[in-house]
Symmetry: C2
Subunit: 118 residues, 2 copies
């Protein structure tokens, strides 16, 4: 998926397209409790590289999910926060999160090729 130039058949397509980045949903989740700085997000999303983080942030910004606020200061400071649309998206994600939560290990199991008992 991801940013197909085609018109969407239904709302799901569009929504999925917005959050189908590898870490996007996770980033949104982390921003739910308030604005975050770049460095904060990097720490909150272990394993992500700056390049990927900034890229996801930019895409989310383009989709009006997050708001980037730049402070003109001597030590650079930028804050990323959820827009109203972002808050609404997070809310819409809740049932999905719930569904995913109870099926999480089933899903994880499907991604393990073998049983690997030893």
């Amino acid at each position: 998926m991801s940013r197909s130039p085609q018109p969407y058949a239904c709302g799901v397509d569009a929504a999925i397209d917005v959050i189908s980045g590898k870490w996007k949903a996770y980033i949104l989740w982390r921003m739910a409790d308030g604005p975050k700085r770049f460095g904060e997000l990097r720490r909150l999303v272990p394993g992500i590289t700056e390049r990927v983080l900034i890229r996801h942030l930019r895409e989310l910004e383009a989709d009006e999910i997050v708001l980037r606020t730049e402070f003109a200061q001597v030590p650079p400071k930028v804050e990323y926060s959820l827009t109203p649309a972002g808050v609404a998206l997070n809310a819409a994600l809740e049932p999905l999160a719930d569904w995913g939560h109870e099926r999480m290990d089933r899903i994880a199991a499907a991604r393990q090729p073998a049983t690997r008992t030893g």
Copy 2:
């Protein structure tokens, strides 16, 4: 995204991982009103190739979202239907679909690089 071997941080990750295929949500949507045959799905999802369709179907099957039923007949017949988990997933997708529906053109606009008036 897609089928990361890592454990999920939250339910959203897992859910997104399940439906982040290019056509997966759309396929699920189409199966909501009853079992579909392979050829039907191919017609219902215009533009998809057999390879990609079967691949998505297999993955959804592995995630226990769809059930594949094979009929031992002279003309081969296979039916794909939603499992209970698949039905629940579709239900959980509704708020997201709603969100996506009202922001659809905003999202589509973000994917258009320029204004292209001419």
